[in-house]
Symmetry: C2
Amino acid sequence: MLLEKIKSPADVKALDIKSLEQLAAEMRTALLKKLSKRGGHVAPNLGFVEGTIALHYVFDSPRDKIVYDVSHQSYSHKMLTGRAQAFLEESHYGDVTGYSEPTESEHDFFMVGHTSTSVSLALGLATARDVLRESGNVIAVIGDGSLSGGEAFEGLDNAGEYATNFIVVVNDNEMSIAENHGGLYKSLAELRTTAGKSENNYFKSLGFDYKYLEQGNDIASLIEIFKSVKNSTRPVVVHLHTQKGRGYSYAEQNREGWHWAAPFNIETSEINWGSGENYGEILGLYLMAKIKSDPKVVVIHSAVPAGIGFYEARRKEAGKQYIDVGIAEEHAVALASGLAKGGAKPIYSTHGTFIQRTYDQLSQDLCANNNPATILVTMSGADGMNDTTHLCIFDIPMLSNIPNLVYLCPTCVEEFKTMADWAIDQTEHPVAIRVPNAVHHRSDIFEKDYSRLNKFKVVHRGERVALIGLGDFYQRAAAVALELRREGIDATLVNPRYASGVDKDLLLELAKTHDVFVTLENGVIEGGFGQKVATALGDTCAKVLVRGLSKEFYDKVSFADLCEKNHLNPSQVAKDVMQLLS
Amino acid sequence: MLLEKIKSPADVKALDIKSLEQLAAEMRTALLKKLSKRGGHVAPNLGFVEGTIALHYVFDSPRDKIVYDVSHQSYSHKMLTGRAQAFLEESHYGDVTGYSEPTESEHDFFMVGHTSTSVSLALGLATARDVLRESGNVIAVIGDGSLSGGEAFEGLDNAGEYATNFIVVVNDNEMSIAENHGGLYKSLAELRTTAGKSENNYFKSLGFDYKYLEQGNDIASLIEIFKSVKNSTRPVVVHLHTQKGRGYSYAEQNREGWHWAAPFNIETSEINWGSGENYGEILGLYLMAKIKSDPKVVVIHSAVPAGIGFYEARRKEAGKQYIDVGIAEEHAVALASGLAKGGAKPIYSTHGTFIQRTYDQLSQDLCANNNPATILVTMSGADGMNDTTHLCIFDIPMLSNIPNLVYLCPTCVEEFKTMADWAIDQTEHPVAIRVPNAVHHRSDIFEKDYSRLNKFKVVHRGERVALIGLGDFYQRAAAVALELRREGIDATLVNPRYASGVDKDLLLELAKTHDVFVTLENGVIEGGFGQKVATALGDTCAKVLVRGLSKEFYDKVSFADLCEKNHLNPSQVAKDVMQLLS
């Protein structure tokens, strides 16, 4: 076996083409085996095995610097840079993360998980090299899907101005997560069908030299084309036509379905998605019903349609009432604002980690104009994705402090639906709704009208202690109430519903009969909801415990550990409350 | 005079070409006169007088919808849509804002002030039109400079996919605020020199049809080309070569200097910039000295170099150590992260209102990677720009809640320099510095090391009342202390220095001898600094008054009025404190 012996890129350079091809086969087998056990990005990694081998064969990492976009195609790179064991031995699977990671290797330059950033980050390395009068090649690897993000354009445009070594490898597998969207993709297709000769060349229009390779999974051709641009003194794009999912027939045939997979059976291709309800499917059913019942409804997503259960059949069924804008969150929000202004009922949804990509558009394009679009922030909270680059715990500080934006936090599916019904049909406010990761159900009756902004709901009125549980942490507040009851305390239980403001009248009234307030939220404390409550009660005698997560970039920390560490477990909260009361 | 009689676009349509040319001359005279009295965007407006006339001659606003990018070229549009009086009579100059404004007219669809948004907003209107089965043309007007922003790319890319009426007018005056930067501009120049025939056509590569007009200030030609695209059923770019500053010789010759001007003398061209120190020049001198003394320093700006006093001579002097990335804040931050990773010392500066455009890059590209770049957030606070779209009051909630980022708030020029010296040379943290609008000086001795994070400085230790004044509001806290002294209170005065965290040890210690804490910050309260203090003191008996601005999109409200309204005046604060003490 060759792969076992690859300790660094130097070992790759020592092999002949035939051995490199054997190496590729071994890497693919190892990839599939690990992915089938652990889950992960299947199709993107399978498509770039040969590209990665050729890069390390031709260039001299880490002196030559390779920056991967999103880095969910960087598993092969990890295998060839001293980390093969983490793909060969099950007991070492956990040694590496799913993204590039500087703490793992000098061959990784940035921790990356959001798209469209590689060109700018790599251009920074290239510019530092030039300013410090160093040498070496700088290579940004970017998938065709990531080209739809504005940051990638900004980076390419800036890079196109410099007469210096800067190599952009476009890994064109004809797919984003789902199909690509954007006029650009028509011209990329033209470039593919004309072997790179089409007049419509986006990269040339931004000042790049340009080379095309149709055989993007052929190692010898890849080596040849990379050699031809090595030490280039001009910015150059190497456009590779690769095959997403290559070498695993199921993934070759269903590239979207195999972009990311939970653990699966290699033979049968059966993916173990786990059981139980999830918000993807709940949203899919809900939004499709809205589309069917109201021709004004337009659902927008930015390239991750599974987040709202919009798989292919549903996308087709939705017709013009569903828009995938590509990986273009900024545009998505501005588009939603324009749709609302034009009389439609836009609903834009993205994950809590990606809503970060469009702060200014939320503020300027949407909220300063006070247009009534609905924004669904999905997978919110610390119990969802837990890679540093995919944390969904910063959305409350970001969204709840933008004027005009109403940020609603439902406690359960039923409340989500009443809130969304209101948000979509009202015409007074831009409204965001925090869709949790975990599915809860409650049998309460929820009000249908949320236009009295920041009106908290007192679910149970007790005394001395008031527990305010935001969104999916309402359940946690209720659990604290149970703990306190055992201590003889009949605590007040509040569902605040709004993260974007506080019910000051209620708080001041409660402060007359309550000594301690506790806020609980599933996100970072700083800049968040509880701090607003603490501030509103600042000039009273009440004591306020603000509970949530401390402001940190957590990496792969389990939700249970996070709760323990941040004193979020009901027994911990109850104990802290009892101490304050004593 | 024709202009006086233009009450709506219908009156424009009734004129012949010769009269339209007279109208253009009258508009230009009115523009210059108003701008010379009030200041404003001079050159952009002078260049698009004819374009605006032709748009209203050919299209039927508001049924046909025109969306202006940045909208600092929309003054002519205002003149032709019932608002001429606001440009003809000095007593009515204040009737209209400097940007498009839906509350002023049904011909304005969005309040706009940040760049690169028109395509996305207009595409929303076009999509709403199609979904609702309405008709009419939708036109986005965008300057060449604004094309460098990622949001504009995302919008164009998405629009290029649709087979529907969507017209993008590119107002190419060969300039951003300063010269353009980006490879794209080389191909725009090629299009100009080849009368639109160059192969490198960015717009075609995104799926647009394309038309070019060299005579972009000739009304008859403009009318002809607009007629040729009216009711187009495909997305089409109309590329106009216009002259920035046209008709005012000084502005024609110095287009950057006349992009925006304070009131000026039309005859002599003398601009009354006002006197006194400003941070633009302070930063220019400071940064240039850094560049000269350290070859690793790289100063980055995104197209508004006047903000750091980098006028042409200074840009030339800085050579490769100064990078203007175009209007591309996202790329700027990622580039800075890459530069820092590569061993350079990047300093990126942008205004407080524009830092909003790059939240995700600050979080992911920079802070998750913990690279030691320095970010200068200029013109911060409510005492600077006061258009809704240019408020610099939201940066504390945005920046202070991102993990790893150290957000420093200097109280004066001297402290700014010690903080910047530290930030640039240290290698542990990404550091942002809040550069105020107003220039203060203090003669204190400032520590040179800020690596003990969140360590507040007690400037005077008193008792009962602790006044914590952040950044330029430290002066205000000192003024409150004077007021309280008259009441017999010897208040403690604290310069917190850090907006991104609190000195909890100090606060808890002070809480033993202080009954009331007051925080003062020049920005919105929600999500900001004071709320962190209130939270830190939440389980003590101390009372906390958090003072700053309420969360609103203020429009043209004077700083004095804002302070009054938000109880920020020292006498108001002192009175509120005395009431709490009683």
